[in-house]
């Protein structure tokens, strides 16, 4: 999930290096690129260095190669997706869970697309942590839950668990508290400020390594199936082929130049790979199923 919006960096890199070629070929024509980011889809660790990364792009590359970069960050995901559809944005960065919500709409507009991640761990599991007194999930009905805010994967897991055991949506049966990061959620569980925590499995492993006494007070109740947590960076399919070619070349240069590596480090991007838009269905299958499930649950409720 953290890697989902590495596209910011990625995009910056592309344009930075694209400018090298574009500047040479079209010195007189100033290229304009509009970037769109959904706020909640920007990982927490990236948000902290977002300004630094953007300054890096504009100072090092945009000015140097005469590129005008415009950044659009908005909480309203639907608004940004509409802008992308209407070609008011050349670029859109979002998470897989968001893509899954709007896949039917977006798939027809997506062109050149990357998957990005903060590390090489391509799939992620989520765990349900509870008190050590009880090991059964169904005993936590009405208990206080803590999760990272805007963590769609944890929410999806909590929702599906609630539906599975209590046959109600999570927010209807649990007292939910959102925190900034999963570590905080685990700590709240440890210090008995919450009864249940839904967090990524790797966060739980990290917490245990930092304090082995964790397991004395915290019980792992369940673990979710593995799901992909890539970030999606996509260009509109109507971009001119020449610009796409430059982007491809720049993407290659990004891996090989010092400035490119520095930008990758700032934005905490561990890996990037190109993917065809139609191939994304396989990656977002659990999300699509979840969307289908809650849609079905809503229909039943009506």
């Amino acid at each position: 999930m953290l890697s989902s919006l590495k596209f910011l960096l990625f995009f910056s890199l592309i344009f930075a290096f694209a400018n090298v070629s574009l500047a040479a070929e079209e010195e007189e024509k100033k290229m304009s690129v509009r970037l769109g980011y959904i706020l909640k889809d920007i990982p927490y660790v990236v948000k902290r260095d977002l300004q630094l990364g953007f300054d890096f792009v504009t100072d090092r590359f945009a000015k140097k190669y005469n590129v005008e970069v415009t950044l659009h960050i908005d909480e309203d995901e639907k608004k940004l997706i509409t802008m992308f559809e209407e070609e008011k944005l050349e670029y859109l960065g979002l998470r897989m869970c968001t893509l899954a919500k709007y896949y039917d709409l977006l798939s027809s507009s997506m062109g050149y697309t990357y998957l990005s991640s903060t590390n090489e761990n391509l799939q992620e599991r989520y765990v349900m942590l509870a008190t050590s007194e009880s090991a059964e999930a169904k005993s936590y009905l009405g208990k206080k839950v803590v999760m990272q805010e805007d963590e769609c994967n944890a929410i999806m897991y909590a929702d599906m668990t609630s539906i599975k055991y209590f046959n109600v949506r999570y927010f209807e049966t649990l007292d939910v508290e959102y925190v900034q990061n999963p570590n905080r959620a685990i700590l709240k569980r440890f210090f008995k400020q919450a009864d249940i925590a839904f967090v990524p499995e790797k966060s739980w492993e990290l917490a245990k390594s930092m304090n082995p006494a964790m397991e004395n007070n915290v019980k792992l109740v369940e673990t979710s199936p593995a799901i992909f947590t890539y970030g999606i960076e996509t260009y509109h399919k109507n971009l001119p082929a020449s610009e796409v070619a430059v982007i491809k070349q720049s993407d290659k240069d990004l891996q090989d130049t010092e400035d490119g590596k520095q930008l990758l480090t700032i934005m905490k991007i561990g890996m990037r790979s190109q993917v065809q838009p139609q191939e994304l269905r396989a990656y977002i299958k659990p999300y699509l199923e979840y969307q289908k499930e809650i849609k079905h649950f809503a229909e039943q409720a009506q």
């Binding site: 990061n181 570590n183 700590l187 709240k188 210090f191 400020q193 390594s209 930092m210 304090n211 006494a213």
Partner: protein
């Protein structure tokens, strides 16, 4: 090698200044380092205080609300951003403590005694061994109290890695060392040039003086300096010029002197060639002068003798005059008969014989001796006294004689008599001048194994000590002008010492002057004296 260096002024000055500089820099460096260490510790303390206040500020709500998860998370973030922090402990009074380390944290039931001891009234710091991990070394340990609304909530303990402090020290030491080395090099170079500036003129002066000692007085030094060294150089130049001038003058003078010496040498050589002749001439001249003196002395003596003859003749002449009167009276009275005439004739002849004898005596005195002979001292003195008796009697001078009989002297009798006359006349004149109540002259003769002695002692009071050493000098006299010639005693000493091989000397006795004539005996006299003494 070291001695060689320290014999050179340049090295003495250079190394002295350098050593002083190094010592000063070492002292300064030492105190600066100490101050820097304090400053680093102060910076560390300030940094710890800032972090503690930051934690307090951010975590105040969590602490009051007992949100330990926030405390752990926040302090983990603090540790992540501050690698120099080894651990943070949030210690709640009467509660649990949270130990947060880099990538590790735990709940502590209680703090170690060492850490707890630092929780006093306010912030404290110390360097102690990490109380939470025995495998780690010492840490800079800082404790900060947490108070909310006047209520003591607890404490923040922050442990800093000491290697940070050590690195700061090492960096500081390295910088100080580099600075010291840089400054040392710069100052050494500066000292080198300053020393050169100071010493070079002195060395130049030394070389110049060496050249001067070799006689190169024309040497001149160039100095544009206006300080004492410049003044010294100028003075040296002036001195060298002066010496050079003096040397030239000396050379000229020397040349002149050499010319003069050569001239004098030539003159001396000329003189030497005629020296023998001159000496002979001078000796002859001296002899002539001496003969003149002797002659003068004789004439003076003759004058004296004539006076004495006059005194001697006065009485017989009076007697003759009375005898002639008696003849006249006898004729008038008729008493002139044959017996009377015979008696008068006898008396007249006696008187004329006496007068004739007197003449003979004086004539004998002035008759020069042809050769040396033995003569009797007492007889010769008696004869002399006889010649002087009338004069002595006239002046009421009593002569006491104590003459040993049969004492003989080998020499010229007349010259001996002349000496006695001179001494007696001087005694008479002194007695007359000093007007003694009873004038006496004592004449004594005696002998020992080697000498025959004749002493003449008067009672005229003696000779003034100031002139007693001069009375034998020629032409020296204490008598009034016209009365003395100053040659009597000179000739007397010359006669005794040169012609009779004796000695004449004088000294003052209590009553007057004592003249002593010591005549060396010949071998026969000496043996005779010894024999007679043995017989006795």
């Amino acid at each position: 090698m070291i001695r060689f260096f320290f014999k050179k002024l340049f090295y003495q000055v250079y190394f002295s200044i350098t050593i002083i500089m190094v010592v000063m820099m070492t002292f300064i460096g030492y105190f600066v380092l100490k101050e820097q260490e304090k400053s680093i510790l102060e910076v560390m303390r300030t940094q710890a205080l800032t972090i503690a206040k930051s934690i307090e500020l951010v975590s105040a709500d969590a602490m009051v609300g007992n949100d330990q998860s926030f405390l752990v998370e926040h302090n983990l973030n603090v540790l992540e951003k501050s690698p120099i922090i080894e651990f943070i402990v949030v210690s709640q009074n009467d509660g649990e403590s949270l130990l947060i380390e880099q990538e590790h944290w735990q709940v502590l039931d209680h703090l170690s005694a060492e850490a707890k001891a630092l929780e006093k009234d306010g912030e404290e710091d110390s360097i102690i061994k990490n109380p939470y991990d025995s495998s780690k070394d010492e840490s800079y340990y800082y404790v900060y109290p947490l108070n909310f609304d006047g209520i003591a909530w607890g404490w923040i303990h922050i442990g800093f890695k000491l290697d940070v402090l050590d690195n700061a020290y090492k960096t500081m030491y390295l910088k100080m060392f580099l600075l010291f080395t840089f400054v040392f090099i710069i100052i050494s170079i500066a000292i080198f040039f300053v020393t050169k500036q100071i010493v070079n003129p002195i060395i130049a002066l030394s070389h110049a003086t060496k050249e001067m000692t070799r006689g190169e007085l024309e040497v001149q030094l160039i100095s544009e300096r206006a300080d004492e060294i410049g003044e010294l150089t100028q003075n040296f130049n002036i001195m060298a010029q002066g010496l050079s001038k003096i040397q030239n003058e000396l050379k000229n003078t020397n040349a002149m002197l050499e010319e003069k010496v050569a001239l004098r040498t030539r003159e001396l050589e000329e003189i030497n060639k005629t020296l023998d002749h001159r000496v002979q001439v001078e000796i002859a001249h001296r002899r002539e002068q001496e003969q003149i003196l002797i002659q003068q002395s004789r004439f003076a003596a003759m004058g004296e003798m004539i006076g004495n003859i006059a005194h001697q003749w006065r009485q017989p002449l009076n007697a003759l005059a009375l005898l002639l009167q008696n003849i006249s009276i006898a004729y008038e009275t008729g008493r002139m008969d044959a017996a009377f005439i015979s008696r008068v004739n006898e008396k007249g002849l006696l008187l004329t014989n006496t007068m004739s004898t007197t003449i003979d005596d004086f004539r004998n005195f002035f008759k020069p001796n042809r050769e040396k002979e033995f003569f009797s001292v007492d007889e010769q003195i008696d004869k002399t006294l006889a010649m002087l008796q009338a004069s002595l009697d006239t002046n009421l001078i009593e002569v006491k004689r104590d003459l040993k009989p049969d004492l003989k002297i080998y020499g010229f009798a007349n010259e001996f008599t002349q000496v006695i006359i001179n001494i007696l006349n001087n005694a008479k004149d002194a007695l007359i001048e000093n007007k003694q109540e009873r004038c006496t002259i004592c004449i004594k003769s005696y002998e020992d194994s080697s000498y025959v002695y004749v002493t003449i002692l008067d009672n005229a009071g003696g000779i003034d000590d100031a002139v007693i050493d001069k009375i034998f000098d020629p032409y020296f006299t204490t008598k009034d002008q016209g009365k003395g010639t100053g040659i009597g005693l000179y000739m007397s000493k010359a006669i005794i010492e040169n012609n009779i091989h004796g000695k004449l000397y004088v000294k003052n006795e209590a009553q007057g002057a004592l003249f002593t004539i010591a005549i060396e005996k010949n071998d026969t006299q000496k043996s005779s004296f010894n024999t007679s003494k043995e017989k006795k």
